[in-house]
Amino acid sequence: MTQQREPKTPVTLDEHIVEIVSDSGEGAQKAGQTFGNLSAKMGNGVWTVEIIPAEIQPPARSPGGASGNRIRVGSTYMTNAGNEADLVVAFNEQVLYSRIASYAYKQGTVILLENKWKTDQSFEICQQYQSAVAEFREHGLVVIEVPMEVECLKIVSNARKGKNMFVVGMLCHIYRRDLQKAFDEVQLTFGHKGEKVVKPNQDLLKAGYAFAAEHIDLHYEIPSWKTPKERDAEQWVVMNGNQSLGLGIMASGMELVSMYPITPATSASHYLADVFVKTGGFVHQAEDEIAAIGFALGASYAGRTACTITSGPGIALKTEFIGLSVMGEIPLVLVDVQRGGPSTGLPTKVEQGDLLALMYGEPGDAPKIIIAPATIEECFHFVIMARKLAETFRGPVVMLTDANLATGVQPFRRPKLQPEWFAPPIDQSAWDSKIPPYDWDEQTGLSSRPLPGQPDGEYVLTGLAHTFESKVVYDRDSNQKGCEMRSKKLATLRNTLQAPTLNGADSGDLLVVGWGSTLGAIEEAVGKMQKQGHQVSSLHLRFLSPMEPDLKAIFARFKKVMTVEINYSDRLDMPFIENDNRRYAQLATLLRGQTLVDIDCWSNVYGQPMQPGMIYEQLLAKIEKIEEVV
C-alpha cells in the first residue's frame, strides 16, 4: 500500500482518554472493547465504559444517539472513566452534540471525524456537517476530517460493517499498539465466525493503521505500568461489573437467580443465562419483580439461598417481600444495580439514590445488611460474601452497585477459586427437635434454621410476629423480643468488622467519605490535592448497614468531613435552604445521624459517573475555606 513515512518521535503521556462514537449499530462499541482489551494486554491500565443512547434505535445522525465507548488508557492502574476526552473518533458529527452537552470534551480535544457527510447527496446533511465542524472548531475542538468510508470501500463493499476495525487500526498507529496483538484480538473477537469474517476485519485494521501512518500526525506513547515479565507472570481478566457479578454469583455456589428485566441490571442476567449451566445454575425470568423475589425466597427457604437482581423501580415492588425476608429470617441476596430515580427516572444512567430506600424502605423496623462494592473486582468477591452473610445472619443482604460499575470495564487479577466459596449441599440430616426454629442467641440474635427435608425440624415460617417457635403471637413482649433479636444481628456483625482504612493521613483538614463506584474518582481527586500539599484524606465505606466501626473517632481527627455521592442534595446557596432544613446526600444523612458530626456533602444527579476533575474543584473550594479560617 502507501509508503510509510519516517516514524516520528512520539509524545510520552501518563494517560489518554479516547472515545469512539457512532450511531448505534455501527460497531463503535466493539471497536472500543477491542482497543481497550488490546491496551490491557499491552500492560496499560484501562477503564472502559459504554456510551449508551437513551433510546434503543435512535434515528441515524441524531444528536442524542451517541453510541460507543470511552476508553481511558494509562500508565498506572485506571480506577475510573476520568475527565474530558483527549481524542475522539466520530462516525458522524451529530452524535458529538450529546457528548459535548455532557461535558465530555474540552478545548483541544482532537476529533477524528468521518468526512463523507461533506459530500452527501442530501444538501441538508452537507450543510449540517459544515456548520457543525465550524461550530466545533470555534469552541476549541481540533477537528481532523478523515475519509474513513472511502478508505474502507477500497477493501469491503459495505463500509458500515468494518469501519470500526479501520478505526482500531488508526488508533493502533496513533498509540503505537502492537499490530500482531491487534490481529490476535480480531481473531479472538471474530474467530467463531470463521476466516471469511476475520480476514477482511484484519485487512481493514491494517488499512487503518497504514492510513494513520500516512495522514495523521498524532504519535503517542503511554508506557506500560508493568514490565512484560510481570505481565506474563500474572493472570488477569477484563470484564464489566455485571459480568463480574454474574461470575461471583457462580462462585458463591448460588444456583438460582430470579429476576425481571430492568436496565441496568439485566445484562448480569443475560450473562448468567448464557453460562450459569456451567455451575448447575438457572436464571428464572419471573412475571414481575414481586414474583422474582418471592420465587427466590421460596428457593432460599428450601435450603438454596437465591439471588434476585434488580434496579430502583424493582426495589420499590419488592419492598413487602424484603420485609418478609427480615421478619421470617430467610437468607436472600438482593442486588440493586442503581440507576437514576425516582420513578422510571434515568434508566441507563448512574445514581447512588437507593441507599435510604433500602435502609428504611420497609414499614416497621426491618434491619438488614447492606454492602456496596467499590470496584468491578469487588462485584465478584462481595456477592460471595453476601451469600455467606445471608446464611450466617439469616436474612436479606443487599448489595448496591450502579450503572457505572455495571457497564465499566476494568482488568483485575484473575480470582483464584476457593472451594469454601461455594455453598455446601443442603443439609438433610435429622434436626434436633429440642431446638426451636428461631433459637435466638441472647447475645448475638443468631440462630440456625431447619430446612425442609430435615426430619423433626418442621415449622411454619410466617411474616406475622412470632415467638422463637415461630408461633404467631400478638402480645407486647414477644414483638419487642423479636425486633430486638433481629436488630442484634447487625450489632453482632459490626463487632466483627474492622475500622475502615484511610487513603492519606489519619488526621487533617478535610476528610472525604464515599461509597460504591465513586472510589476511583474520589481517590484520584484526593491524590491530586495531597500532591499539592493539602491535608485531605478519604475513606470509602463498603459496609453501610451495619456501619463500619470507629467512624466517629476518625471523623474527630479532621476539621471538616464531607461525603461525595451521586444522589440529590440541596445546595446551601439555594433559596430558603439553611443548615437546618437542608436535605443532605444519602450517606451524609446516615452518618450525621449515626455520629452527630456536622458532616457536609457534595453530590449531584447529572446521571454521570463522578469526574475526578469535578471532585477536585469542589474539594479545592472547600479546603480554601478551611485553610482561610486557620
Binding site: N37, K41, V237, V238, M239, Q243, L247, M250, G253, E255, L256, V275, V277, K278, T279, G280, G281, F282, H284, A286, E287, I290, A291, I293, G294, F295, A296, L297, G298, A299, Y301, A302, R304, A306, L324, P411, R414, P415, L417, P419, F422, P424, P425, I426, D427, Q428, S429, P450, P452, G453, P455, D456, G457, E458, Y459, V460, L461, T462, G463, L464
Partner: protein, 315 residues
C-alpha cells in the same frame, strides 16, 4: 448426595405417620367455616399416602384460609398476600423432592395475586393449589372479592356489587399449559377427598377451586346450590373423580365429561356450577424439570465450570 445415614431408607419404611404427625396447632377458624373440612381432608390424604411430613411444605398467602400451614404438622410457609404461588414455585424450582400444597383465598389468588395465578398455571410446577373460594374477603371482614355474585352486599359495596363476578374456571382453562382443573365443595367430604387425592396424584399444577362456606360473611352465597343440589352439575367419567354411588346419589344432575376435552370443559365452566374434574392433561411439561437441572452438581465440577467461564475474560 446428602449427608444421610446409610440405613436411612430402611428407617423410613419403619416410620408410620398418624394424623397427629400432620397436625400443628389447633385450627382457629370460626365454627362452621368450610376451611376445617379442607384441612382435615389434606391431613387424611397425607396420612393415607404416608407422605413424609418433613418432605411436605404447605404454602399460603394471607387470609383466613391462608392460616392452613399453621395447622399442619409439616413444614410451612405463610407468605404475603397474593404471593403464595411465587413462593411455592420457588421452592419447587430447586427442590423437586418436596411435596408442595398451596392454600389461597379468592382474594389472595384472583385479585391481588392474579398475575401469579396466570403464570403459575403456565409454569405447571408439581403442586396442589387449593383455592378456598368463599366469594368474600374473610380476614378483613366482608369486602367484595372478584368472585362475589352480582348484587352481593358487603362493606365496600353496601348497596351491592356492580360487576359480574370473575369466572376462575374459564380463566384458568384459557391459560397455556393448564394441566388440571377441578371444582369441589367443602360440604361433601367424600367428593372433596377424592378430588384432592386426584389432584395430588397429578404431576403438574393441580388447580382445585373449592366452593367454601363462610358462615359469618357470605353465608348465603351457596345456599342456592346447597338447598337445591340439582343446580350442581356432577361430572362423571372413568378418568374423572371417583366417589361411591351412595355419594353420587346426592347429585341429581349428572353428565359424562371426558376431562381431556377442553372445549367441552370450557362450555361446562361457562354455563354451569360443576363439581368434578373439568380438565386433565397429564403429559404437560413441568417447569422444574428445567429449572432444577444441575442441582446435584458437586463443588469440583462447579469450579471447573467457573474456570471455564473465567477463561473467556482472560487477557
Amino acid at each position: 448426595m446428602f449427608a444421610l445415614k446409610a440405613d436411612w431408607s430402611q428407617e423410613i419404611k419403619k416410620r408410620y405417620f398418624t394424623l397427629d404427625d400432620y397436625t400443628g396447632g389447633e385450627a382457629r377458624w370460626c365454627p362452621g367455616c368450610g376451611d376445617h373440612a379442607v384441612l382435615t381432608v389434606v391431613q387424611r390424604i397425607c396420612r393415607d399416602k404416608q407422605i413424609l411430613p418433613e418432605k411436605t411444605v404447605a404454602v399460603s398467602g394471607i387470609g383466613c384460609s391462608s392460616r392452613l400451614p399453621h395447622y399442619m404438622g409439616t413444614y410451612g410457609f405463610h407468605g404475603t398476600h397474593g404471593r403464595a404461588l411465587t413462593i411455592a414455585c420457588g421452592i419447587r424450582s430447586r427442590r423437586p423432592d418436596l411435596d408442595v400444597w398451596v392454600a389461597t383465598g379468592d382474594g389472595d389468588c384472583f385479585s391481588i395475586g392474579a398475575g401469579h395465578w396466570i403464570h403459575a398455571i403456565r409454569y405447571n410446577m408439581n403442586m396442589v393449589v387449593l383455592i378456598f373460594d368463599n366469594n368474600v374477603y374473610g380476614l378483613t371482614k366482608k369486602q367484595m372479592s372478584p368472585t362475589s355474585p352480582l348484587g352481593f352486599k358487603n362493606n365496600t359495596a353496601p348497596r351491592g356489587t356492580i360487576l359480574q363476578p370473575l369466572n376462575p374456571l374459564t380463566v384458568t382453562l384459557g391459560i397455556t399449559n393448564v394441566s388440571f382443573v377441578a371444582q369441589t365443595i367443602d360440604w361433601n367430604p367424600a367428593h372433596l377427598y377424592a378430588t384432592l387425592q386426584a389432584a395430588h396424584n397429578h404431576r403438574g399444577t393441580s388447580f382445585v377451586r373449592i366452593l367454601q362456606r363462610c358462615p359469618v360473611y357470605s353465608d348465603e352465597v351457596f345456599s342456592d346450590i346447597q338447598n337445591d343440589p340439582s343446580k350442581i352439575l356432577f361430572l362423571n367419567h372413568k378418568n374423572g373423580i371417583h366417589i361411591g354411588d351412595n355419594v353420587k346419589r346426592l347429585f341429581p344432575t349428572q353428565r359424562e365429561h371426558d376431562p381431556s376435552n377442553m372445549s367441552e370443559a370450557y362450555d361446562i365452566a361457562r354455563n354451569h356450577v360443576p363439581v368434578g374434574l373439568l380438565y386433565h392433561a397429564p403429559q404437560t411439561p413441568c417447569y422444574e424439570d428445567f429449572s432444577s437441572v444441575g442441582r446435584h452438581m458437586g463443588i469440583e465440577d462447579k469450579m471447573k465450570g467457573l474456570n471455564d467461564a473465567l477463561d473467556q475474560f482472560a487477557v
